[in-house]
Structures are given as structure tokens and as C-alpha cells.
Symmetry: C2
Amino acid sequence: MRLVAITWLSCLRRHLQTKTRFLHTLKGPQSDQILMSPTLASLDLPDIWTPISPCHSIPAIHKSFNEQTARILDGKLMSAEIRSKIADQVRQMKKNVGKVPGLAVILVGQRRDSVTYVRNKIIACEEVGIKSVVTELPTDCADADVQNAVMKFNKDPSVHGILVQLPLPQHLDEEKLLDAVCLEKDVDGFHPINMGELALSGREPLFIPCTPKACIELLIRSGVKIAGKRAVVIGRSNIVGLPTSLLLQRHHATVTIVHAYTENPEQTTSEADIVVSAAGVPNLVRGNWIKSGATVIDVGTSPVKDSSCEDGYRLVGDVCFEEVIKVASVITPVPGGVGPMTVTMLLVNALDSAKRMLNYT
Amino acid sequence: MRLVAITWLSCLRRHLQTKTRFLHTLKGPQSDQILMSPTLASLDLPDIWTPISPCHSIPAIHKSFNEQTARILDGKLMSAEIRSKIADQVRQMKKNVGKVPGLAVILVGQRRDSVTYVRNKIIACEEVGIKSVVTELPTDCADADVQNAVMKFNKDPSVHGILVQLPLPQHLDEEKLLDAVCLEKDVDGFHPINMGELALSGREPLFIPCTPKACIELLIRSGVKIAGKRAVVIGRSNIVGLPTSLLLQRHHATVTIVHAYTENPEQTTSEADIVVSAAGVPNLVRGNWIKSGATVIDVGTSPVKDSSCEDGYRLVGDVCFEEVIKVASVITPVPGGVGPMTVTMLLVNALDSAKRMLNYT
């Protein structure tokens, strides 16, 4: 078993060396280039993690904690509590000003996971009384089709939140289309101004992206102290890893982002009091990655084939649950942890947006 | 001497506890509040570091490296090389299109350090042939006065870069005034859109803030490998700490930000291969904060009274130079390290801006 771990680490190291060589080729200055630093665009490389062996092949190294079991946070239960409060406020809003929050969703294509996520969001809206509308576009639609849909919702006063379900098909210009969403309705918080204002102290974005907001709410509701603690965020995606790191820092954690280019990710992660994993790699985070007593928030949701499930697949997290539960003090399950809370934060953002746009307090 | 260190650490710990209590008082949800997470604005607390004892009172713990001496990076020399290339390109531009880059500086009040910085920037512009213009306003001027100056330069086609010298007097609305600088002329890169695009992978800001850009250029020119390495940025200011951490991450370092709320900052810092200190606290970073062989970039420039100097004061960095030089492999001095390179990056940004605005390649 030890051999498996070593082999995997060697793979990761080789992978890193290859990527590093690639980086070096980017660095050579061109003749008319004043600086040696390359342009940022050329630095963007895919964060490819080497596939991980099945979860049970490496035992947790903290054998003395084999009997310990972490507290499992129930994202569904917390969501139900919050959604009940949202429903109350939506009812009050309807009674007082005759209006309810409106959420518009743009879905391009029929990716199975995207269809499921959109369906869950729509059901959640219905539950709390938020009006929702979905525009479905074919996979081969043009940028202009998506942009027109965005523009229509930008102008519609009954719509207080607009979300473009990601990922978009590769031929579409995601950057341009996300930028087209009017800032006041950007309930996903993906606009660069919202991200810049999340990063800058002394400023406040109109919206905090839903998954990072869900992670913080889970931590606070579970009584986990954030200020002063060491936090590791695994993965640096624009929609989860990056904004989660910025938000944890605003809560005064000492934050490190671990990514596919990190040397010894297990060592760095094992120093953290709080680990948020959002790499999208099943079973990446093993028992030996976690400090005894740490809090582990698992954002990963990778579909894995499973004929015993209704849809033919099940969702698995980044965290090897059976190993980590023996080491951590608090853990979120997949499914039923961050997922429902993320949808709930979307409802919160939509409600907040409607309040702001209707000048309703 | 050991006692001094322990006393200081106890102070820091007490200070942290006080601040943490304050944070807890912020956390209690109000009756109509749906989430337990506080608003971001209420999280903003000043990063106050406890004053540090003089540099020579705690010896470096790495006694075996007492004889080692780090390579000192010469920021002036590197700057001279880069400025010579800038001057060439400005001459070429003048010859080819009859225009030179133009930089406008707005200086409010007569803070001694700000006056010095502005003077250095103007001299540097003259050296390379960039046209510069300074608008000086009295300390008690109104927001509208600064805004008018910004607007005038926004419209002036001979101005390709605008910088508002910070810090502004407290009564002015820094956020509003920085946002007024037109994005295409924001050579300081402080606009939230520029910051958001620096943070988001797949995007590229029009300008990278000058000090972070200087740090990366220093590292690359010195042959220090960044990708995959552990980097610690000390301090999380909007103008240095935050963008430096984002930029190091875009260069694929594994980045941790250490701030005044970090527990055991010396422990976290001592794990880093690259340390960039931008706390503005003289002698904060001692020999025992640094891993043997690490690279140390000192961004701190605090004025300290010294009657033997011409101006009655001298600038000191965050790093206890005489201790750290025995442990690190590479170090920047203060003055003569990051300072001149920061001004040089301003020249690069102004030139790049002029090229972009004049469609000149």
C-alpha cells in the first residue's frame, strides 16, 4: 500500500517537472520585451491533478485516532433552517410591496450535471416563493444568442438575479458573456468588479459567490473559529477556490491555496486547521493529508458510474471520507454538505438583490 | 534576549485575543438576519502589528549558517538596465509617431514621504523621456477637487497614465477617487476591475500594480524559481500584499498571506522558499523567521529618525537585514532593492499604456 502512495507521488512529481519545463519555455524574453516577466495570459495552464488510486488503498496514518469520528455537518438541515427564514421574508415582501424576488437562469446545452443543478435551483426557488425563469439554448448556439438572453433579463425589472449556468460549451466566450450580466443582478458574483471588491479590504462586493459563502456559513454555524487559524483551500478555480481563499482571508484566517503545481500538497494541507477542498478530484484528500482535529469542507462533486443508483452515477467528493472522518473533528459529506448550502446561498443572494433593487428593507 | 522574544509573542497573542473577541461581537445575528455570516464591511479591522524590539536583540537561531551571506539583489542596477531599454523605446516611439508616453500625478498635501516618492517618479520619467505633469492640491481640498483633476487627465489624450499618490488625507473618499481614474490609464492597477482580472485566471488586467510587478521581476531576473515553490507574503494591503499574493499565485507558487491576525507568523514564514514582506513594520522579520536558503524580498520602507542623514531620517525595511543575510540565499536591501524597481515598473506601465492607446507596437 505504501508503494501505491509513493508511485502516485512520483507521478505527481514527474507531472510537475513537465509543467515546470513548459513554464520555463514561456519565460524567455522576446527581443523587444523590456521585462523578463511573461504576460499573465501565457501563464494560464490547466490545473491537471494526476488521477488518484481508490480511497481504501492507503490507510490513514493517524492510527491512534482510528476510533475517533468527526462530527458530520448536515448541509440539508442547515439549508432547511435558512430556507424557512427566506420563505418568511419573501412572504413579507409580497405582502408589503406586492412583489417577490425573480431569478433568471440561462442554460446552454443539456449537460447532465448542469441540467440537474439548474433543476435543483428552480425547485429551491419554488420552495421559498422566489419566481424563476429558465432560458434554454441549444449547445451550438452563438455568443449573440446567450448575450441577447442576458440583455433581455438585464432590462426586465421583475428579474433581480441572473445566472449563466457554467461550464458553457467551449466555442462560447465565457468571459464576455459573464461580463454582460449587469452588476446589480450578478447573483453568482463572478463579474470581475465583484471579485475585485471581494479581494480589496475596505470594499464590499454586491454579491459573494455562492459556494464560498456556503463554506463560511457552514463554518460559522458549526462554531468553527476562523480568525487567526490556518486554512488551506485546495484548487484555485475562479468560481470556488479563488473566492473562497479571498473570503476566508477577509475572515482573518491565514490562507494558503494548494493547487496542482504545489510541491508536497499533503504536507501543506496537513498544517491546516481548516481545509476546503475544491479540486474536483475524487479521493484526492486522504487521511494523512489532515491534521488531527481539523475541520474539512468538501466542495468536490465528481460523478462516478454506479449502476445501483437511479441515474446510473453517484456524486463523490474530493475527500476520502472513511479515512478523514477518523482524523478530522468536523467534516461535510458529499452529497448533503456544501451542495444544498450553495443553492441556499443563491436564494439569499436573489433575495438580497430584490431588496436592494426594490429599496425594501 | 530570549525573554524579549517571548514577551513580544505574548503581546501579539494578547492583541490577537482582544481582536478575536471583537470579531465575536460582530458575529451575533440580528433578528431579521438570515445568515450567521457578518457583512464583509464589518470584518475590516486595522492590521496593527505590535511594535518590535530593535533588530540586534534576538540572534538568528540558525547558528550553523552564521558564516553564510546571502546574495544581495541590486535593484538600482536592474532598474538602470530596464530604464535604458525604456528610453530606447520612447525614442523610437517619438521618431515613428511623434509622440511620447505621458504620466499625470495628483499629489494632495505635502506628506514628506509622498513628496519624495512623487519627486523620484518625476525624475525617473525625465530620465527615460516620458512626459510628466503633477497637479498639487492642498491637504484640505475637497473630493470634487481631486475628482476634477482626475477627470481632466482622463480626457487629455497626451496623458496615458494617471496616478493618485496614496495615502490621501483621511477626509477624502479614496475608493471613489481611485474608481474615477479611467481604466485604460490606471497605471497603478488599483481599480477593482484590474484587481479582479489579476485574481481571475484566464483573464488579464490592463495593468499590474507596480510593487508586485517589481517583486516578480526581481525574482525572475535573479533566477529564483517561483512555480511550485512555497511563498509567504507578509501583510495584506490593497496596494502591495494582496496583489503580490495574487501575482505569485499566477506564477504557480503556493502562496500564504501572513497578517497581523496570523497565529505563529514566524512558524508559517519559516516554511517558505520565497518571503515577500510588506507589513511596514521595521525589523518584523528576524533571522529565525527565515528558512535556510530562502529568498527574501523586503518591500517595507519605514522612516526612522536619524540625525546623521541629510533629511533627518532614513528608510528601514521590514527585514532585520543583519540577521536574515546569514540565513537567506538571496535578499533585497532597503533602500536600493524593491524601491527603484517599483518606480521602474511605473515607467513600464506608462509606456505600455501609451503603446496600447496609440495602437503602436
